[in-house]
């Protein structure tokens, strides 16, 4: 039960939950409620702070994912085309997240510093769109991970027979 390998795997899975869960909550729960309950100025003020915090959380979680993922590769000694595809998708996800928060998010912050701005609506729509793409790619990566974990378990199952 208590081993470094299991701990690293636990941190890896937790980082996925934090990154994906936070983005999905923000997109499908928080944003619609803000739109219904608050006026434009207050909604913008809240949205700016949420974007900033979420950016820190998502980018930090992705960094943890990469480090623990490489450690998992060493522990489980898994390699192959499936893993290569997963790693390529992870690189795309990180690049999209950097674009989402480092370019779009920063532009939203700059424009919204003094209140609502006409250029904000398309920027926010694009921010949400990129966020959805990131979420979808993370789900695909999770699915690939299931395939990898089953591939890693096959030698163990064969050894037990």
């Amino acid at each position: 039960m208590l081993s470094l390998r299991l701990l690293v795997l636990f941190i890896h899975v937790t980082a996925v939950i934090v990154a994906l869960g936070g983005s999905l909550f923000s997109t499908f729960a928080l944003a619609p409620v803000l739109a219904e309950e608050l006026d434009a100025a207050a909604r913008l003020r809240v949205a700016r702070r949420v974007i900033q915090r979420l950016g820190v959380i998502v980018l930090g979680a992705l960094a943890v994912l990469v480090v623990t993922g490489i450690s998992n590769m060493e522990f489980f000694n898994v390699a192959g085309p499936l893993l290569d595809l997963k790693l390529a998708l992870v690189a795309i996800v990180i690049a999209l997240a950097i674009f989402q928060y480092g370019a779009l998010g920063m532009r939203i912050w700059g424009l919204s510093a003094t209140g609502p701005h006409p250029a904000l609506v398309p920027l926010q729509a694009r921010f949400r769109s990129v966020g959805l793409k990131v979420g979808l790619l993370v789900l695909v990566i999770v699915y690939l991970s299931l395939g990898l974990s089953r591939a890693a378990a096959v030698p163990l199952a064969l050894a037990r027979r």
């Binding site: 930090g60 690049a95 674009f99």
Partner: protein
């Protein structure tokens, strides 16, 4: 800053590829014949120079990609400088990590290609080609893992810069009071 990163990228590519070529083709022997001490040093270090060059190249490529993607990051202070400094400080441990990751999964299956080369070109050319292919793939895989880590590192630095800027009230990232009661309490 971007010129410096481009220059360092080119330098790491040249050093890494030269070391990979030398390691694969055993060119250290030629150096030994001219200067035995230098040849011995090169033989002892060419593998690590290959690893270090590949890792540096991957980290710098990731930094360049990150700076292009986060176009507005110039408004925050020093994310490029901090990332470059961290890349330099972490180069040695990351070289070891990326090289270990690149070696995972390498087994006897990679011997298929040299067998086919040997079938029509002979044993000696196939052995040379096998060594060069192995060194080249190792270089590329190490650089790829370093790119992934480099992107993650840049993302972390960007996140830290965002937190720092919001606390220090940089342009467009000022912390806003939550509501009127909070601002009254602060007054």
């Amino acid at each position: 800053m971007r010129c410096l990163i481009a220059l360092l990228s080119q330098a790491s590519l040249v050093v890494g590829l030269l070391a990979a070529l030398s390691y694969g083709a055993e060119l250290h022997t030629a150096v030994r014949m001219r200067a035995p001490a230098a040849g011995a040093w090169w033989n002892a270090h060419e593998f690590y120079l290959m690893e270090g060059g590949a890792t540096a190249l991957g980290l710098l490529l990731a930094l360049r990609i990150g700076l292009r993607l986060a176009a507005e990051a110039d408004r925050l202070r020093y994310p490029a400088v901090v990332t470059l400094a961290l890349n330099a400080a972490l180069l040695l441990p990351l070289s070891s990590l990326c090289a270990r990751a690149a070696r995972i999964g390498v087994d006897g299956d990679v011997a298929v290609v040299p067998d086919r080369i040997a079938a029509f070109a002979g044993f000696a050319p196939s052995k040379l080609f096998d060594n060069l292919l192995t060194a080249g793939l190792y270089f590329v895989k190490t650089a790829a893992f370093a790119s992934l880590l480099g992107l993650a590192l840049f993302g972390t630095v960007l996140a830290g810069a965002m937190v720092r800027a919001s606390r220090h009230g940089a342009t467009g990232l000022d912390s806003q009071p939550d509501d009127d009661s909070t601002s009254e309490a602060r007054a």
